[in-house]
């Protein structure tokens, strides 16, 4: 019974999320919209890099930052996908109270709602990588990709991000609607620590530990290693760790993160209900 409630919550929410995400315009505009944003984001970095290095795209630094940035798109997508649902349902559609009173598993519902953003995010990642390989010499050799490692890492990473989104969803339950996506802003902040666009060695020593405790850091490293092993080896951050070690750390830290997220969400959820915040509208 419980299982079917979880699955039903997830599947129905996925369907709903996709309807909301995609049906505001016609498919052509939707596709254009989904391409422009990630391409522009990548283009900023490409230009920054090309201005300083006079277009030396063959350096491993470029592949490092390009791929890191491409996959980092999943971070805001999933974090926002899960957490924004609270605001969307509470203050816009005003259905959160009904979702709460229905036999629905709220975390699974929130994960479901994020699926659409994940799919659009995937679209962005694929487009960005394709542009990199076709026009910017990103050294991605499909035959040398470690697919099993890539898929396992991707799965674990997305799961970990969804759990991170759950923490933000909990916080969102207790805070007002601000004019920005909390998931995007948090992702923007973590960009600094996770070695997404530069190796952690570039950070001052006192900031690096933040990167080491974030599972995203290990996830991005694993993704890079599975796709372009040679590039990843050029940077010293995790040379002492094998792929297996990294996977283990990612799984372990995701587990800790996951347990923490469930407790935090439950705490916030309890607080929100105690303070009567489930159906508040906080526009200001």
């Amino acid at each position: 019974m419980q299982k079917s409630i979880n699955l039903r919550s997830f599947l129905t929410a996925s369907w709903l999320g996709w309807q909301i995400e995609s049906n505001w315009t016609d498919p052509f505009l939707f596709a254009t919209y989904s391409i422009i944003k990630p391409v522009a984001g990548a283009a900023i970095l490409v230009l920054m890099y090309s201005i300083v290095t006079q277009g030396n795209f063959d350096s491993p630094v470029f592949a490092y930052l390009y791929l890191g940035n491409a996959f980092y798109q999943y971070v805001p997508a999933v974090l926002t996908g899960v957490s924004w649902t609270i605001i969307d349902d509470r203050e816009h559609y005003r259905t959160l109270k009904y979702i709460y009173t229905a036999p629905v598993n709220i975390p699974f519902y929130l994960f479901g709602r994020a699926v659409a953003k994940f799919i659009v995010g995937t679209f962005g990642v694929v487009i960005t990588i394709a542009a990199g390989v076709l026009f910017l010499n990103v050294p991605l050799d499909w035959s040398r990709v470690d697919w099993p490692l890539f898929l396992v890492a991707l799965f674990l990473g997305v799961l970990m991000l969804a759990l991170g989104g759950l923490i933000l969803a909990g916080i969102t339950l207790m805070t007002a609607r601000h004019s920005y996506y909390i998931g995007d802003v948090v992702a923007g902040g973590l960009f600094l620590f996770t070695g997404a666009i530069f190796p952690l060695e570039v950070l001052p020593g006192w900031l690096r530990p933040v990167g080491y405790i974030l599972p995203i850091t290990y996830w991005l490293e694993l993704i890079r290693r599975s796709l372009v092993g040679a590039v990843a080896e050029a940077f010293p951050t995790f040379t002492a760790l094998s792929n297996g070690d990294l996977l283990l750390i990612l799984a372990g830290s995701s587990l800790v993160f996951g347990i923490a997220s469930i407790f935090i969400f439950r705490y916030c959820d309890h607080q929100a209900r105690e303070r009567g915040l489930i159906d508040q509208t906080t526009n200001y």
Binding site: W24, T25, Y33, I36, K37, P38, A40, G41, A43, I44, L45, L47, M48, Y49, I51, V52, T53, V61, L65, E91, H92, Y93, I171, T175, A176, R177, H178, S179, Y180, I182, V185, V186, G188, G189, L190, F191, L192, F193, A196, I197, F198, P199, V202, L203, T281, T282, N283, Y284
Partner: protein
């Protein structure tokens, strides 16, 4: 004794305009007092995001002035975000919550309402911009060499007038839109950061692309400010500062005037099509 005495004198004209700005900015200012979480999300986290771009330059060995470029660009981003999220797309929320109809039927000018929203959010924006400049400069040792303080003030003020004029223009379009508004605002983030040269001198886009990007007031504003505050600024500048100031004056006039007419026009259109109160969700 009368329970409902008539109102002695209702203000109108510029007094009403001012009262409306104050009235609409009030919820913003008070809301921020009551919900402090924005400090973390709206000031602290963006600071980290700007720092990330600084370290990219460090990682690829860019000249130190580029670090300053990012810091200044990051600070100016805050104003663009304010225009986009606190003004333009805010109208969409106002419509959904039923406030828009009440604004429209009141004698208050719509431009004053929009300005009120922006001014209310400006405090957070200013704090964010100042925090980025201050912390960024301290941590990354950015050295400034201000060549003309007055020109700097002029450039900043003009950029703001033109930017908020552009914001009001786009807000009028948001009057017509429904859920698309949200996506449109979202779409105007990275592409605008790219073309306006938030993180690099816009000259690098090439003359024509940079010229086209100059329609966005941030582009020339940023370029001129960088020329005025960094030693290497003038060599990397797109046009002469004086020319950029001239163009910014024109942009300011055009955008503010256009916003006024466009708002009035779109309001009429929305009234005709019944879009002011619809709730398509």
């Amino acid at each position: 004794m009368s329970l409902f005495p008539p109102i002695e004198k209702k203000r109108s004209g510029w007094q009403l305009f001012l009262m409306t700005v104050v009235g609409r900015s009030y919820p913003r200012v008070v809301g921020m007092q009551r919900e402090r979480s924005w400090m973390f999300f709206d000031v602290f986290l963006p600071l980290l995001s700007v720092a990330a771009y600084v370290f990219v330059y460090r990682a690829i060995g860019a000249p130190e002035d580029y670090v300053g470029f990012v810091v200044v660009g990051g600070a100016m981003t805050a104003f663009w975000m304010n225009v986009l999220w606190s003004m333009s797309s805010q109208l969409y929320w106002e419509k959904e919550q039923g406030n828009l109809a009440l604004y429209i039927i009141s004698p208050a000018p719509m431009m004053a309402i929009l300005l009120g929203m922006a001014v209310g959010g400006l405090f957070a924006t200013l704090l964010r911009a100042i925090a980025i400049i201050a912390v960024g400069s301290l941590i990354f040792n950015v050295t400034y060499a201000v060549s003309s303080f007055w020109q700097l003030i002029a450039v900043f003020s003009l950029s703001m007038i033109a930017l908020y004029g552009l914001g009001m223009m786009s807000a009028s379009i948001f009057l017509l839109l429904s859920r698309e508004a949200w996506h449109l605002a979202n779409l105007a983030m990275e592409p605008v950061y790219l073309v306006s040269g938030m993180y690099f001198p816009v000259k690098n886009l090439g003359f024509w692309a940079a010229a086209a990007a100059s329609v966005i007031p941030l582009t020339l504003g940023l370029d001129a400010m960088r020329q005025l505050v960094f030693a290497s600024g003038p060599t990397l500048g797109f046009l002469r500062v004086e020319t950029e100031i001239g163009i910014l004056i024109i942009l300011s006039i055009v955008f503010v005037t256009a916003a006024r007419y466009l708002l009035a026009y779109i309001e009429r259109l929305a009234v005709r099509e019944g879009r002011l109160t619809e709730n398509r969700r």
